[in-house]
């Protein structure tokens, strides 16, 4: 379980997360949606422990995140950045083996059990057939599956994904989302995923949080959060939600930007730096 209590975080004097509250249950596929700059990536990085809040607290199960060392954290929680590149010519298996680092002391070799976990992660993501190929010779869809295998090899309880479908072709997007959802179910993983395409959120998540200017402005089942009215308000674009083949789809009405300015949910800019300003 992940719980955020009045988390406030920002850079260069600009607040990105404003007193954000959120609770995510174990085994849930939880989506984060919102316009660019609404704080999705910052929120994920905060939960990953890479950014520490200026105020408020993040709890993983019952422990405060700041109490955990980065190695302890890496055993509980895996995160895939939006764009991952590998600077040298490692093989797929070598990459996935890196997922065992937080479980092994510096001088320890990988045990037989480690190798089994790695092979299992490769198998679950269907990357076993090219386990000995170089990562640099794979398509972006295949590579995305390798990063997932790496995360699984960490044996985390929580998986944080920052726009895992970005830069992928349609077929790969579906493949990755299906895979993530089946893994969440089979491995009882908690998945927290940011998505820029609202349709993926609508189809694949159990619950979503709609972020705007660093706050959660709507939270709940995707069908209830992603409404025509709310999307128009936050994204300033008109959409229609249409039914087809028993599913619902969000369709943007191209070229029809909403005339209404976006709601100033958090009040005016700029906010004072926390700790110095009156609210800090």
């Amino acid at each position: 379980m992940i719980r955020l209590e009045r988390v406030r975080l920002g850079y260069d004097g600009r607040l990105v997360l404003r007193d954000l509250e959120l609770e995510i249950a174990p085994g849930e596929v939880f989506g984060l949606v919102g316009p660019n700059g609404s704080g999705k990536t910052t929120l994920l990085r905060a939960i990953s422990g890479r950014l520490s809040p200026h105020a408020g607290a993040i709890y993983l199960d019952l422990r405060r995140l700041s109490e955990l060392s980065s190695r302890e954290l890496a055993r509980e929680l895996a995160m895939l950045e939006q764009e991952i590149s590998c600077s040298f010519d490692f093989t797929v298996r070598e990459i996935v083996e890196l997922g065992r680092l937080p479980h092994r002391a510096r001088w320890q070799r990988l045990s037989r059990q480690d190798h089994e976990i790695v092979t299992r992660a490769l198998w679950l993501t269907d990357t076993l057939p090219f386990a000995d190929r170089s990562i640099q010779r794979l398509s972006s869809g295949e590579r995305q599956r390798v990063w997932l295998a790496l995360a699984l090899a960490q044996e985390p309880k929580v998986l944080l994904l920052d726009e895992p479908t970005a830069h992928l072709d349609f077929n790969y997007q579906i493949e990755i989302m299906e895979l993530v959802c089946s893994l969440a179910q089979e491995q009882n993983l908690t998945v927290l995923v940011s998505l820029h395409d609202l349709n993926w959120a609508l189809h694949y998540t159990d619950r979503v949080a709609l972020l705007s200017e660093g706050r959660v402005i709507a939270l709940g089942e995707p069908e209830r959060v992603l409404t025509e009215k709310l999307i128009e308000q936050v994204f300033r674009v008109r959409v229609r939600i249409v039914d087809g083949t028993g599913e619902r789809y969000i369709v943007p009405l191209f070229g029809d930007l909403s005339p209404n300015p976006s709601p100033k949910v958090g009040g005016g800019f700029p906010l004072p730096v926390p700790g110095r300003g009156p609210g800090g």
Partner: protein
């Protein structure tokens, strides 16, 4: 890479090193054999030839090891041990010692060089840290470039106007790199530093593997990138500075050796680091043998030979990378 394969590479490189050292001892202005009974030849062997050949191996190993670490740390196969201005800092340090006429005292030139090199990296580190709050690779590299230019200007000034001119030949030889001053003390100095720094970097080899996925991903795997960079930069700086202090600035060994070996053994730093050290030792031992014999009894600066080998290779690398469309 499979375990037996790594062992095979390690043992064949070790065998090559033994061969290169034997060759280095035999070759020279006076041909020698370890079983020579002649007292003069024995003296040449134990006091001149042997320390020199061993120093070549150690300096080569140190530079290649540092190169491999720097390439891993900066995630760039074109990085080398001198990336952060250590060479120009050391040269300026040596020039200053000569300009102040301190070179009449034994050991002051290497000491000046060592301090100059360490000072250069320390300044680069500080500048990059304060200017960009969060220390990043570009800030480090840019400060390194700027500082190298500054220290080169200091060296040139000292050389032309500042009183280093009386021993310009010595300084030039030092800039080009060479092992002419080899002695046992240097051998033990480099050996000690290489052992300590080598153990430290090997301990962090697996962290370097994770760093290949970028700092953020490495952090998600439980590694603290800033911590890692600090430790490794200290180890590499000290080792490089010691090597430069005793041999001048020998270029390209630290660049090409890790690069070639990465093509052979793969990028896993747990293997690449020790293999690079061995490969660098082999290469520099052979280059030094060439330097001593090709114009014997005169001697060619070692840097000329490594640059003659290294520069074309460097261009080849750049061209190949340009062809496959990779970014630097």
């Amino acid at each position: 890479m499979k375990r037996w394969k790594s062992l095979l590479v390690l043992s064949s490189l070790s065998a090559l090193l033994v061969g290169a050292i034997a060759l280095g001892i035999a070759l020279g202005a006076v041909p020698l054999s370890p079983f020579d009974a002649d007292p003069t030849n024995r003296l040449i062997l134990t006091q001149i030839r042997l320390p020199r050949v061993l120093l070549a191996a150690l300096v080569g190993g140190a530079l290649a090891l540092c190169g491999a670490v720097m390439q891993g740390l900066f995630r760039n196969p074109l990085a080398d041990p001198y990336l952060l201005g250590i060479a120009s800092g050391a040269t300026a340090g040596a020039a200053l010692t000569i300009a102040l006429h301190l070179d009449i005292y034994w050991g002051f030139v290497p000491l000046g060089a060592f301090l100059g090199g360490v000072l250069a990296v320390a300044i680069v580190y500080r500048v990059a840290q304060t200017r960009w709050a969060r220390l990043d690779n570009y800030a480090l590299i840019l400060s390194g470039v700027a500082l190298a230019a500054l220290f080169s200007a200091v060296t040139s000034f000292l050389l032309f106007y500042g009183g280093a001119a009386h021993d310009a030949r010595r300084l030039i030889f030092w800039i080009l790199g060479g092992l002419g001053g080899a002695q046992w003390l240097y051998v033990f100095g480099v050996l000690g530093t290489l052992v300590v720094a080598g153990m430290v970097v090997l301990l962090f080899a697996r962290d370097l593997n994770a760093l290949a996925l970028g700092e953020e991903m490495a952090a998600h795997l439980g590694i603290e990138p800033r911590h890692l960079r600090k430790i490794l930069l200290v180890a590499v700086t000290l080792l490089t500075a010691v090597a430069v202090a005793v041999s001048g600035t020998i270029g390209f060994v630290g660049l090409i050796v890790p690069h070639i070996l990465r093509l052979i053994v793969g990028p896993d730093h747990r293997l690449l680091l020790p293999v690079s050290a061995l490969g660098g030792a082999v290469l520099l031992t052979l280059c030094d043998a060439v330097a001593r014999t090709v114009l014997a009894p005169a001697e060619l600066p070692l840097g000329i030979i490594t640059a003659l080998l290294g520069a074309p290779f460097f261009l080849f690398l750049l061209r190949r990378r340009a062809q496959i469309g990779a970014t630097l």
